[in-house]
Subunit: 496 residues, 2 copies
């Protein structure tokens, strides 16, 4: 087979794996998608796959390579994410751009000498994301972690002693996969008080954090024939990766100053959407009243499912948080919460309130995943919640986070005068954007080279947008925050 | 379409969903397989699907019903398990028997008045299995739980205090999905000492028990194109259900007095097998030296994967446990252990040592499942292991369990003179069989009606075999054990 190198090219051209000369035996197990994506990038680069050509149908290429279709879908998704290809539901996947520089597999960041260009050049796969998390940084302004120094160690020990003393022998055996009744009861009270949600404890499922919620729900939705969960754009990269791992597409719904664009959601005929309505990640926008009403119509008219990731709703500084969507739409909302932003991510405890139609399937998914969360930490948490200790913790965190937020805003004013600050009224992070043209991954890489870790906004974006960074302030001292932002101010001029 | 009711019937007849008049909208979400299986049973019962006819191809019926293929596969599997159909890999699934009585969906056992015939009439789906687990019983002789009254509460509290005092602030954040280094190090030492396994702590993955190991590994194998994991027969029903939930077939490998029949494994051309070599569940057989050698040849010749479920290997009463297969075959064995039989199932902590080719994929699966186990209990367990507390616990359990095992053997001799005892030299349970003809599920149901819970052997069997029960002794006092076995002796005569 020969292929024309000239543009305009024929969109009907479909490449086959024979033409690409792919040999799956060259691929490492567990890294086949990454390998395949890289082979396709090379083929695009040397024009074996010209711009405008169509990639083979996933089914066909999977059969030819003798891999599961998921491997191919994931590889195509990577090409779409890094801008080499575009997906057209009906027309397949089209090559849209050649790489601007020779591509190379993602490298682990080297603490000694990170290379700003290479390190973040591609959208991070789980590997880079994870390595970046593990990369040593003097000052870590990654979003998503509360003030861990405020963790109530003494109260935890007291509650654990009491829990262990009163735990029955059978409580040490295999338990209810939904979680211990005491914690489900305590969470029902918490949700009633802080999120205006009336919940039956029997309808609450305890999970290992929102990551597990997305994993279990992804499986349930796929089994129900739902092929995709629409996600906010910008929106959490981690959430997107979790849904993808379950074989779900994640078409983007743009976010504007009122929150997610429900009109776009409606047009894409999605059956499910993942939202952060109380405090959108990463923009910090609150879903407006008009949009909430639009969303409610969409859900009831199309029997749509809303996954409400209520990750940091309790942390508002200006006014009480808006009620959860779940409180008004229990039959269409799958509500996900956790203690990761209230106590510590390391506890790996979260909760899900599924709509009735998915409730049993979700419990089954949890049972088959791990037979249920560990019992003792659930008992401890139940005691912290019922004793008022969690409320005290929340008040303490609000005060401390607010001070750190102020320190960050001051530092941005001082060191990044051209930056626009978004979402500073709530949460554990804020977002800044620049009205300029540069690659924000390079800004993040340059900062990391100076020991300061931040998330480039483009990591959390599927479409094109202004360059920016997402800055967590909750887990760092005011002094560290000032120093970290100052470093951003120092490295920024070299990029524009 | 019309169908003949006469036998012999045409094996080429293939039913379609139009003929069956199935409407998937009638099925509850999450219960579609059960619903479909029930509809097919009804169709077999009223001869719409005559004996000898072929069920539609899973792909075809799934498309017609607009459900995922897994739903149909699972429904067919249920029919195969309850004897309505037989699977012939090439020739599809054939109806082989009509139900002997009108079928009904599995009922939850009623503590007040369980009906022996109805309660366990079908092989238990997860529902019945779970309900049975939750069913109140005065004396619970279910296998799989150690003496929970021996849980070292005081030592746990001391270790937790020390762990919490020394835990860094960043240790409360998102950690390494593989687990905390301290625990991986402690487990490496434990495995070297008790299981003759030399393990690099970096190659150990901490998980939420062996249930999660099977779930994660099932996913990894499926992604690698492995369609089935052969399992021991008899073998753990729970393990089989976990693998099935991940879409894997579980063809049976018979177990005889030397352990799993490796010649059968070789003939079935399986690529992976789940084994309990140190103390086969439920028979208690130790895999013989000859079989170990056969197994090693199979693994290296066919590049086969052995999943070694080392669930209770430390609990031997007669001699030191045999070394783990992992110790001699690190490149072909995925080793799974947990603290469920050493401390308590409620801790939900286990470990996996994957062969090199699956190591990264398994870490990824864990990351996407829940981002890793909770940090604090890992630190506590590491301290218990490194301080010698776990060894003391194991010695204590061995003494207590041995006494309970003796009480059970004595009670069987006194109350069940016709029973043959198997596997009493190790572990937390033993198995008894009867050289008679009766339905052991009825024996279990009759015992439960008298407040005594046991597992019928047929729950853990795929093929036909002698009736029997699996009796856990570790979690009950000698008095409760004697009373429970006496109840079995009382209800047994009514069945033969």
């Amino acid at each position: 087979m020969n292929r024309s190198n000239r543009d305009p090219v024929d969109r009907s051209i479909v490449a086959g794996s024979d033409f690409l000369q792919l040999n799956i035996l060259d691929a490492p197990v567990g890294g086949r998608s990454a390998w395949l994506a890289q082979q396709l990038r090379l083929a695009i680069e040397d024009r074996r796959l010209p711009i405008g050509s169509k990639l083979p149908a996933t089914r066909v290429l999977a059969a030819e390579l003798r891999v599961s279709r998921g491997v191919v879908t994931e590889a195509y998704q990577r090409l779409i994410e890094d801008g080499h290809a575009a997906g057209h539901r009906r027309n397949g996947t089209i090559v849209v751009a050649a790489p601007t520089a020779p591509t190379a597999p993602a490298q682990a960041p080297s603490a000694a000498a990170p290379s700003p260009g290479g390190l973040f050049a591609a959208l991070p796969g789980p590997d880079v994301f994870d390595r970046m998390r593990a990369a040593p940084a003097r000052i870590d302004l990654s979003p998503g972690t509360p003030d861990l120094a405020a963790f109530p160690r003494a109260a935890w020990m007291r509650a654990e002693r009491a829990a262990l003393a009163s735990l029955s022998t059978s409580g040490l055996g295999y338990g209810d996969p939904r979680g211990t009744p005491a914690l489900r009861h305590a969470i029902a009270n918490w949700l009633a008080r802080y999120r205006a949600i009336r919940a039956d404890p029997d309808g609450i499922l305890i999970v290992s954090g929102t990551a597990q919620t997305l994993s279990l729900l992804g499986r349930v939705l796929r089994d129900d024939g739902v092929p995709a969960v629409a996600v906010e754009d910008p929106g959490s990269l981690g959430a997107r990766q979790h849904l993808r791992h379950q074989g779900l597409d994640t078409p983007p719904v743009p976010v504007d100053s009122q929150g997610a664009r429900i009109d776009v959601l409606r047009d894409m005929a999605a059956r499910a959407v993942l939202l952060t309505p109380a405090h959108q990640f990463p923009t910090g926008v609150v879903l407006s009243g008009a949009r909430r009403r639009e969303l409610m119509s969409w859900a009831s008219e199309s029997d749509g499912l809303i996954i409400e990731d209520d990750y940091d709703a309790e942390h508002r500084y200006d006014r009480p948080p808006v009620p959860a969507l779940r409180s008004v739409l229990p039959h269409h909302v799958c509500y996900a919460g956790s203690v990761s932003k209230l106590l510590a991510p390391a506890l790996r405890i979260g909760w899900v309130l599924a709509p009735p139609k998915y409730r049993d399937a979700l419990v089954d998914a949890k049972r088959f995943a791990d037979l249920g969360n560990a019992a003792l930490p659930q008992q401890v948490l139940a005691r912290l919640m019922e004793s008022g200790q969690m409320e005290r913790q929340l008040r303490l965190l609000r005060t401390r986070h607010c001070r750190r937020r102020d320190a960050m805003v001051d530092a941005i004013t001082a060191h990044l005068p051209g930056a626009v600050v978004h979402g500073a009224a709530a949460g554990l992070h804020l977002m800044i954007t620049f009205d300029a043209e540069f690659d924000d991954t390079e800004l993040a890489a340059a900062a990391l080279a100076c020991g300061v870790k931040v998330h480039p906004l483009s990591w959390h974006s599927q479409g094109a947008r202004l360059p920016g960074v997402v800055l967590g302030y909750a887990a760092s001292t005011p002094a560290a925050i000032s120093e970290g932002v100052a470093v951003l101010g120092e490295v920024l001029p070299s990029l524009s």
